[in-house]
């Protein structure tokens, strides 16, 4: 185990040490102390590492993550795990806006609440939020799953493509082209697996499913001739 104290080391030094493991891995476990809300902590990892951040992180924490498991023992700022490819990012506290934005794969677990635009333009990531999500969550979501154990803010799933959205609590409003859908046995199973991977004890049968009505312009075959 290697430790970094960000009052003694710069974020650049920490990230370099983490990137240095991407070829031959010499050290798999890293503890990061005194993050003090600094930005870009543990970004661009490309190795099966375990990184524990002991405090609040700033913007874009664990962005572009591949393979690694990053845990923030506190809150995370904007864009946590943005463009994640694989691995797992867990936030013990709250996450600010645009959590998991554009992420292609892996699992993002937020144990507190997520702010606005959670999972905006997500492209395959699985996001499980134990608390609530803010407005415009999953805007233009293309693939993957968004699970919300609390409530969702305004305009959930606006202009959605193929993301499966599961919400247990109240949805303030659905965005354009997002509708409630039937919860079939395969969805109960899928949701059960997601909750189990996230380590969250909830009954899948108590969730509702939302998805795209596929009525917007880009879903109409008649518009194909425009290209």
């Amino acid at each position: 185990m290697k430790t970094f104290d960000l009052t003694q080391n710069t974020v650049r030094e920490l990230n370099q040490a983490l990137h240095d493991q991407s070829g031959e891995c010499m050290e798999r476990e890293f503890d990061v102390f005194s993050p003090h809300g600094q930005h870009n902590i543990a970004c661009g990892l490309d190795q099966n590492l375990s990184v524990n951040i002991m405090g609040h992180a700033g913007y874009f924490c664990a962005g572009m993550n591949k393979k690694a498991t990053v845990t923030v023992h506190g809150n995370a700022g904007q864009g946590v795990a943005e463009n994640m490819m694989s691995g797992m990012v867990r936030i013990k506290g709250d996450a600010s806006q645009a959590a998991g934005a554009t992420a292609h794969g892996g699992l993002l677990v937020i144990e507190g609440n997520a702010g606005a635009r959670c999972g905006i333009s997500m492209k395959g990531v699985d996001i499980v939020v134990k608390g609530n999500v803010g407005h415009m969550s999953c805007f233009m979501g293309q693939a993957g799953n968004l699970v919300v154990c609390g409530d969702a803010g305004e305009a959930l799933g606006d202009s959605l493509y193929e993301v499966h959205i599961y919400v247990k609590g109240h949805v303030k409003s659905l965005g354009a082209d997002c509708i409630e859908k039937e919860m079939r046995p395969e969805h109960i199973e899928e949701l059960g697996n997601l909750l189990s991977r996230a380590g969250i004890d909830e009954d899948p049968a108590r969730f509702k499913r939302y998805g795209s009505a596929r009525q917007l312009y880009n879903f109409k075959v008649d518009n194909a001739s425009a290209y």
């Binding site: 003090h36 809300g37 600094q38 405090g55 609040h56 700033g58 913007y59 809150n75 700022g77 904007q78 506290g93 709250d94 600010s96 806006q97 702010g115 606005a116 803010g134 407005h135 803010g153």
Partner: protein, 300 residues
């Protein structure tokens, strides 16, 4: 971009440390605003019927002594004053309108930075660290303070464009964002008798709140009206003589973090600015909700 910060003390025993606690918060927001910085501190209040005015002169060796003498004579009243770098704070036994009128007539080259019973605004072009040092921020005492670090976008890096702005008795706000209906609103407010010194959108927001309070609104009512009437992007931190508030617009794209302990409420654009506060590791830390305001007030 810009950075905003605020600190409201719930525990009066910390008042002697207000500046010391706040200085690192302002400096932490240098990355968000390196062009100019300023702050509005509340404390050392004068009794009702008296006025406290903060003036600035471009010359560092300006003769404030003579100005004080002339003002006492001109207004036929008693006053006390002290210098702080190229600014000076005057406490005058006279009303706001009288003081304003005399200054306009007799000292037009002294810029009024703030006027009220409690507020003192100090601001300059330059890095936040330099400005904090210049005015000895760390030695200042008070009950609450709000500050701004500016990254200039809509107008030049000048003293006139530096924040924060105040337009009415003891009211001040710091703003991260941009308003889209400020020109029309400024016209409306001018007709209502609100004065504006600049073309800046944030000054219109300050003027709007001052106007609502003048109309008899409570701070809560003024902010409810502001959510209806202000259009654009904003995270505001607002100071009044006895209150402190934070408000975000419905889109909430401008960042904000709040932290509260038994001793204080602190606000910043980013958590980094709060990281050095005492007891922050046990504070309640949260992101203020969109289209929502939060108010803390002490007895008037």
């Amino acid at each position: 971009m810009c950075g905003i910060v605020g600190l409201y003390l719930k525990n009066p025993s910390l008042e002697s440390q207000l500046g010391e606690l706040f200085e690192p918060m302002l400096i932490a927001m240098t990355d968000r605003g390196p062009d100019s910085a300023g702050f509005a501190i509340y404390g050392d209040e004068v009794p009702e019927g008296e006025t406290k005015v903060t003036l600035r002169h471009p010359e560092d060796d300006y003769d404030w002594e003579s100005l004080a003498g002339a003002m006492a004579e001109g207004l036929v009243t008693e006053l006390s004053w002290f210098r702080n770098a190229n600014a000076a704070v005057f406490k005058i036994r006279a009303g706001e309108e009288q003081v304003r009128a005399w200054l306009q007539e007799s000292a037009p080259d002294a810029l009024v930075l703030s006027i009220g019973r409690s507020i003192e605004i100090l601001k300059e072009v330059g890095l936040p660290e330099k400005i904090a040092g210049k005015f000895k921020l760390s030695e200042m005492k008070g009950s609450h303070i709000i500050g701004h670090t500016r990254m200039a976008t809509e107008s030049a890096v000048t003293m006139e464009g530096s924040h924060p702005f105040t337009t009415g008795m003891d009211l001040c706000l710091v703003h991260n964002g941009s308003l889209s209906n400020h020109n029309r609103l400024r016209e409306v407010l001018c007709r209502e008798g609100i004065r504006f010194e600049t073309e800046n959108d944030s000054e219109v927001a300050a003027g709007y709140l001052a106007w609502r309070l003048e109309q008899g609104d409570s701070l809560k009512q003024a902010l409810e009206h502001a959510l209806e009437d202000l259009d654009g992007f904003f995270t505001f931190t607002i100071g009044t003589r006895n209150g402190f508030a934070v408000m975000r617009d419905p889109i909430a794209c401008k960042p904000a973090v709040l932290a509260e302990t038994d001793d204080y409420v602190a606000m910043a654009s980013e958590y980094q600015a709060l990281a050095g506060l005492p007891g922050i590791e046990h504070a309640t830390v949260w992101e203020p909700e969109p289209a929502t305001f939060y108010i803390w007030e002490r007895d008037a």
